[in-house]
């Protein structure tokens, strides 16, 4: 009889997945339920928010976002 496990399917780029694997390893495998393929994995539902937050933090350090265009071209000044 097959088993069903509750979780969240995460689809992402391989580069992002590498970071997720690293986070999982650093926290004693608290996040990942099953590693499916190079761009899909299943994580614990309760940990998704925390995972996203950690991922954002790491990406903030590594990536530069371009400056927001604040000026409105049709309203000089």
């Amino acid at each position: 009889m097959p088993r069903a496990v509750k979780g969240v399917l995460v689809e992402c780029d391989p580069s992002i997945k590498a970071i997720i694997l690293k986070i999982d390893e650093d926290f004693h495998h608290a996040f990942i339920v099953e590693d499916l393929d190079h761009q899909t994995l299943v994580v614990k539902e309760s940990k998704l928010a925390e995972l996203k937050e950690r991922l954002e933090k790491i990406l903030e350090k590594t990536q530069m976002m371009e400056k927001e265009e604040e000026s409105d071209p049709e309203q000089p000044g």
């Binding site: 097959p2 099953e34 539902e45």
Partner: protein, 464 residues
């Protein structure tokens, strides 16, 4: 449907015993039939309704074209989950309690009072007209929305409403005794259509009611009954149970029922009540429903009409002076100027991404804009400029580095054949998201139907 706001669909998860008790009232049986079943399931129920002996499953399946396999499975699964049908070896019949009471609802008879007992018009000069009720419902319900966005309004919602908003996670208090502030969930709540908003509140009410020792089925009976009452008619309080009488006080606060005095022996359902179990769709927002029904009579109808103009250069003009609408727009538009009857601003990558951070989705924003589009915009074939719509979606995707879908991972299949069968079934249902034959595991968004199917198959195999 977003995040953690539970809507009407939540009712599907009630335990079987609750359903059996719910079906004891004709009005409830009718309401569930009306609101919760897809059309095909309705056909199946009506086919079975006057068949006193169980029907062969094969005969029923013959009613449906073979290519509509998916719809058929969907209908049966819904009926099973709502415990409307009983199945034995290849035959199927309606739940006897449901059958009896649904028949009563359709053809009348019995003294169940489940559709309420109308009161004769009061001898005092009757001032309770439909426009009056509409105005009352709108004032009460908008007061709740106004309170959520923190605008000043003449009517403040009752303390019961406020604690409900807090316990449902739509608002939160930073410390005890402080002013409650709106949460992420609250923002997505504001962008929902009216009927969904009311149900979200009522489902939460249902939960808290149980904590207060009110009988859950009693509460549900009453809510579902309200949907079948007639607007403008007074109903007697005397046939209600103690729990239901206690509820009246709370429902008054939401604008769902009106009573002249708390001790009055009659109550009037408002339009919010009578549309509770209408078929989904068609209700834009509480005010739009009311406005549509009232026509162009007075200022209130303005609220329901479109007022937003979106230009291809991402500028937004909104003909409104309602603090509520401005507050909602302010969630995702950078408003720059305000005139007596107009606000204008721009949507930008930043404003959209801030909204997305608050838990609002691009689709909610687009829905809101198209629902409230100005009549001038509606003259176009495409209501919103496609560039703007696409860009809003792109801005959302930009912020998403991973795509998360909740669901269930099925694994440990004994044979490849087994796996392929289940995968095929899941695909036909449209719930399969990912599979790998080599690993013999798959990810599905819903498991109930598959678990059902596996169980039935196992049972079938056991017998052979």
């Amino acid at each position: 449907m977003s995040g953690n706001i539970r809507g009407f669909g939540y009712l599907e998860n009630l335990p079987p015993i609750t359903f059996r008790r719910l079906y004891q009232q004709p009005a409830t049986a009718l309401a569930i039939f009306r609101r919760m079943l897809p059309s095909l399931a309705k056909v199946i129920v009506t086919t079975l309704l006057y068949n006193d002996v169980p029907v062969q499953l094969g005969d029923l399946e013959a009613l449906v074209r073979p290519e509509s396999y998916r719809e058929r499975e969907d209908a049966f699964s819904k009926l099973r989950r709502l415990h409307i049908i009983n199945e034995t070896d290849h035959t199927i019949s309606l739940d006897p309690v449901f059958r009896t009471n649904f028949r009563l609802a359709l053809t009348g008879g019995g003294d169940h009072h489940s559709f309420g007992v109308p009161c004769p018009p009061s001898d005092k000069k009757s001032k309770i007209t439909i426009p009056f009720l509409d105005e009352y419902a709108q004032r009460k319900f908008e007061a709740i929305l106004h309170y959520m966005v923190g605008t000043h309004n003449d009517t403040k919602p009752g303390s019961g409403v406020i604690s409900l908003l807090v316990s449902s996670g739509l608002m939160e208090r930073q410390g005890t005794g402080t002013q409650a502030i709106i949460t992420k969930n609250g923002f997505s709540f504001l962008l929902q259509e009216g009927n969904a908003q009311i149900w979200a509140l009522l489902i939460q009410y249902l939960d808290t009611a149980e904590e207060l020792g009110m009988e859950k089925t009693d509460v549900l009976h009453f809510l579902l009954m309200l949907g079948s009452l007639e607007l403008g008619q007074a109903y007697s309080v005397n046939t209600l149970t103690v729990t239901q009488r206690a509820m009246l006080a709370d429902l008054r606060d939401y604008g769902i029922v009106y009573q002249r005095k708390a001790a009055s022996d009659r109550f009037y359902p408002t339009r919010l009540a009578t549309t509770l179990t209408s078929e989904a769709g068609g209700l834009r927002s509480a005010s739009a429903t009311i406005a549509a029904a009232m026509g162009d009579k007075d200022a209130f109808s303005d609220a329901g009409k479109g007022f937003v103009i979106v230009e291809t250069n991402y500028r937004i003009y909104a003909y409104t002076n309602s603090p509520l609408q401005i507050a909602v727009l302010n969630l995702f538009v950078r408003l720059t100027t305000r005139f007596p009857n107009l606000v204008s601003g721009r949507i930008s990558r930043q404003s959209i991404q801030e909204a997305i951070k608050m838990g609002i989705t691009a689709d909610q924003i687009i829905d809101y804009l198209s629902v409230h589009a100005h009549p001038q915009m509606r003259k176009n074939l495409v209501v919103l400029p496609p560039t703007v719509v696409d860009q809003i979606r792109l801005w959302q995707i930009e912020g998403e580095r991973m795509k998360a879908t909740g669901g269930f991972l099925f694994k440990d299949f004994t044979t490849t054949q087994d796996f392929e069968d289940v995968a095929k079934y899941a695909e036909e249902l449209g719930v399969l998201r990912w599979k790998s034959t080599t690993k013999r595991c798959m990810f599905v968004t819903r498991h109930e139907q598959i678990a059902d199917w596996l169980k039935r198959r196992a049972a079938g195999a056991g017998k052979k």
